[in-house]
């Protein structure tokens, strides 16, 4: 009997003396879409590479409170000329594969990934081609093919991966991710999730201020849940800590729940009608009528449930070139009707059929927005119909109109444009320029103004871009409607707020105290 008591006491003691296993803290995020590959240049957009921004880091980043560019993996920089920036790199940083972060590794990476000859579209997003030159071990020069006064701002989207990955294991570039960031790539289970583990050797552990955050979770899991309702349900059921891009309905519903809250913030995405000045839109009265006919407030408040902010500009207020003197276009159906009648009296065929097009999956309720726009235009005398098209039909149709100089001006897409570089020139040449890749608008004087502004920097650039913005605004080139907010359901157990770039960076989140 005593023997059994002794065994029981020993067992109890052994259990009590066992070291307590610390529970792994995991941040689980539900995202709307799955990345196409793990190529590091995709990481600057959360939608293109989910969670990848936790692994790779840029030379410079942006302070969204001040709008200023601030040091990151580079501790300082110098503008050498219109094409060249010289960066001094942070010392003592290593990549997740153990190799050193230095000028040579930066050059190896940039000179491969941003060279169009290698078939990667990385340079397309910069609208310029960049190369890197090693000056010394910790000094690198970034050289743009064309003069580029906003090269520094663009470097915010250039996230760096290991040069060793490029030189030794190029085949693995699309399927792995080797950066210097706070989290290391663990596993991509296609169709299911991607996971990352904390990097104990992250340089930011020693300097959280410069790193603009700290590691608070052992592991990150980004689950791919494409259905809006299910993504929100996963947050409500406590299965995920953050549900990305939820609908206005889900946000309204969260007000009644104790465990989750809605976080909603303006994004860089702007909703607009791509109009241009071709075909029958060459008459300014038709363009003005079209813009005045649309009730932007109704779209933002009633259809988007308050998750959009009415605007008259294609960029958000912190952008260089944003003109604070340009208000949202008014809603004035009477004037719109009068303008149309006037144009019709002068022989313009204002009754010709117009298609209001939208792309499936663009944002929640995009189809209702297209329907509403078509109905409002019909109300003032336009002859409208609606097409909601899958991407494989929408995209080629969109391009065929901008590729055709004689386009009839009657296929009007209600679409989104996002300017992450936060410089108006980027959007201006694209939608208000004769050679813009998506532009239906062409005015040689405006083109000359864009190019002149692009040669400037600093305050001069800002003022020059504001001036072009005003000219384009008064010429009614495109029907700007609203800036979109993006909304998230967030567990009350997590302290996190979205930033303007809508990247979900775990270093900015922590368990709620």
């Amino acid at each position: 009997m005593h023997k059994y008591i002794l065994v029981a006491v020993v067992a109890v003691l052994m259990t009590a003396l066992q070291p307590v296993q610390a529970q792994e803290s995991v941040l689980t995020v539900a995202v709307a879409s799955e990345m196409t590959s793990l190529e590091g240049y995709l990481a600057s957009s959360e939608a293109n590479c989910n969670g990848c921004i936790n692994v790779v880091e840029p030379l410079v980043t942006r302070d969204f409170e001040t709008g200023e560019m601030v040091p990151y993996l580079a501790t300082s920089w110098e503008i050498v000329d219109d094409n060249t920036l010289e960066f001094t790199l942070r010392e003592g940083v290593t990549y997740h594969d153990g190799s050193d972060f230095n000028a040579e590794s930066v050059a190896a990476y940039i000179n491969y990934v941003y060279d169009p000859a290698n078939g990667l579209p990385a340079s397309d997003s910069l609208t310029n081609v960049i190369t890197a030159e090693v000056v010394d071990e910790f000094t690198v020069r970034i050289v743009a093919e064309n003069a580029d006064p906003i090269l520094l701002q663009k470097m915010y989207t250039v996230n760096l991966e290991s040069g060793q990955l490029i030189t030794d294991s190029l085949d693995e570039y699309p399927t792995t991710l080797v950066g210097t960031g706070p989290y290391m790539f663990e596993e991509w289970r296609r169709g299911e999730q991607i996971s990352f583990v904390a990097n104990p050797d992250w340089w930011g552990n020693d300097d959280p201020e410069a790193a603009r955050g700290a590691i608070a979770f052992d592991r990150l899991v980004y689950r791919f849940i494409p259905d809006d309702t299910v993504r929100a349900a996963a947050a409500q059921a406590g299965e995920v800590d953050i549900a990305q891009f939820v609908t206005p309905d889900a946000c309204e519903g969260a007000a009644d729940l104790d465990d989750v809250r809605c976080e909603s913030l303006a994004s860089v995405e702007t909703m607009f009608m791509r109009m241009g000045n071709g075909g029958f839109m060459s008459d300014i009265r038709v363009r003005e009528a079209m813009i005045l006919a649309v009730d932007k407030e109704l779209i933002a408040d009633a259809i988007m449930g308050g998750t959009a902010t009415v605007t008259g500009q294609i960029v958000i207020p912190v952008t260089t070139g944003y003109n604070p003197d340009l208000p949202p276009y008014p809603f004035d159906p009477e004037r719109a009707s009068a303008l149309l009648e006037e144009a019709a009296a002068d022989g313009i065929d204002v009754g010709q059929p117009i298609t209001i097009a939208s792309r499936e999956g663009l944002h929640p309720r995009h189809d209702e927005v297209a329907e509403a726009v078509a109905a409002m235009l019909a109300e003032v005398g336009f002859n409208t119909s609606v097409e909601v098209l899958p991407p494989d039909v929408f995209n080629p149709t969109w391009s065929s109109y901008s590729d055709d100089p004689d386009q009839p001006g009657n296929w009007i897409a209600v679409h989104l444009h996002g300017n992450e570089v936060l410089d108006l020139y980027f959007s201006g040449i694209r939608y208000f320029g004769c050679d813009g890749s998506s532009s239906l608008y062409c005015d040689e004087e405006v083109d000359a103004m864009w190019e002149a502004a692009n040669m400037l920097s600093g305050e001069e650039r800002d003022l020059a871009l504001r001036e072009v913005a005003a000219v384009a605004y008064n010429d009614f080139g495109n029907g700007i409607i609203a800036h979109l907010n993006f909304s998230y359901l967030v567990s009350e157990g997590v302290a996190w707020q979205p930033q303007l770039d809508h990247r979900i960076q775990a270093k900015e989140a922590a368990p709620a105290s």
Partner: protein
């Protein structure tokens, strides 16, 4: 002699299967190239035309269609469908790595729908026009007419969000698979129950069942040995159809539940006009359907020796 007949039949069916697979793959190849522009989907709308042309060259999409087709056929013969435009890795392994999830879901749906459908269909046939029969008929009719995506969302909101019994979505064990499997099982369950009831009723009207009853055989023996074996051919057909319909038709449900099966991959591939991926997924699903149909055909001989392989 019988073995020879079966072997000859098998060879004929296998040749037939190869032809079917070749035809399916060719149709997908040509349809994929006449509808939409894969490069514009991959690159988006804001990329200049020169870049689009460069990528088309890189992917071989600017080559004449016959050249592309010969390249496709010679690759398909060695199960090489090329690299996925979307994920930039070979397409077929992407499909193969999704098969365990698809098999798990198909198997669970089969186990949920078929045994229960057979049991309830038989019970309904044993008591025609009873309350039980009417109840089962209404229930199975409801199953057949249910809109699956609506049912999926209702099940998620009730069982996952309200009760917390199962997971809303994702890939894993019992808690994850229950809701997608239940959603997909409702329709086949209804069909199996209806077919079983009708096939068993036909059997119960036949003289040999009356003779068996007159001889005083036990009802269980009559039902399971005499009636069920003869009624099995339509039941096995509908059971096989359950498997092929889940293989073919779970695209939407896999997407809603974020279940990483072949169906979800097909939808993603189609949305991105990822031609190699679509070709590989359609080929794989067609292959599985051909195999299931072959097994169902072969089972007929076992179940009903009157059926001969001509």
């Amino acid at each position: 002699m019988r073995t020879f007949i079966i072997a000859r039949y098998l060879i004929r069916r296998l040749l037939h299967a190869v032809l079917v697979l070749f035809a399916v793959a060719s149709i997908v190849f040509f349809l994929g190239r006449v509808v939409g522009d894969p490069v514009r989907i991959v690159l988006g709308v804001e990329v200049p035309e020169e870049r689009v042309q460069a990528v088309r060259d890189q992917l071989g999409l600017n080559d004449p269609l016959p050249v592309q087709y010969i390249r496709f056929v010679s690759g398909a013969l060695v199960l090489d469908f090329g690299d996925s435009f979307w994920q930039k890795v070979p397409a077929l392994p992407l499909v193969v790595e999704r098969l365990p999830a698809t098999f798990a879901l198909t198997g669970t749906v089969f186990l949920m729908a078929v045994p229960l459908g057979i049991v309830l269909g038989t019970l309904a046939a044993l008591r025609p026009d009873s309350i039980l029969d009417r109840g089962i008929s209404v229930f199975s009719m409801l199953g057949v007419s249910m809109v699956d995506f609506w049912l999926a969302l209702m099940l998620i909101l009730f069982f996952a969000v309200q009760l917390g019994w199962f997971k809303t979505s994702g890939y894993g064990g019992f808690q994850y698979i229950m809701l997608p499997a239940l959603t997909l099982a409702v329709q086949p369950f209804g069909r199996v129950a209806q077919i079983t009831r009708s096939a068993m009723l036909d059997q119960f009207d036949l003289p040999h069942i009356g003779v068996a009853r007159a001889k005083g055989l036990r009802e269980r023996r009559i039902v399971f040995l005499h009636a069920m074996k003869n009624a099995a051919v339509p039941i096995v057909t509908i059971a096989g159809d359950t498997i092929t319909s889940v293989l073919n038709g779970s695209v939407l449900i896999e997407t809603i539940f974020a279940w990483p099966g072949v169906g979800q991959l097909t939808l993603l591939g189609l949305g991105r006009r990822d031609l190699p991926l679509v070709e590989a997924t359609v080929f794989t699903i067609a292959l599985l359907v051909v195999i299931v149909n072959l097994v169902v055909d072969l089972s007929y001989a076992y179940l009903n020796p009157k059926i001969r392989y001509q």
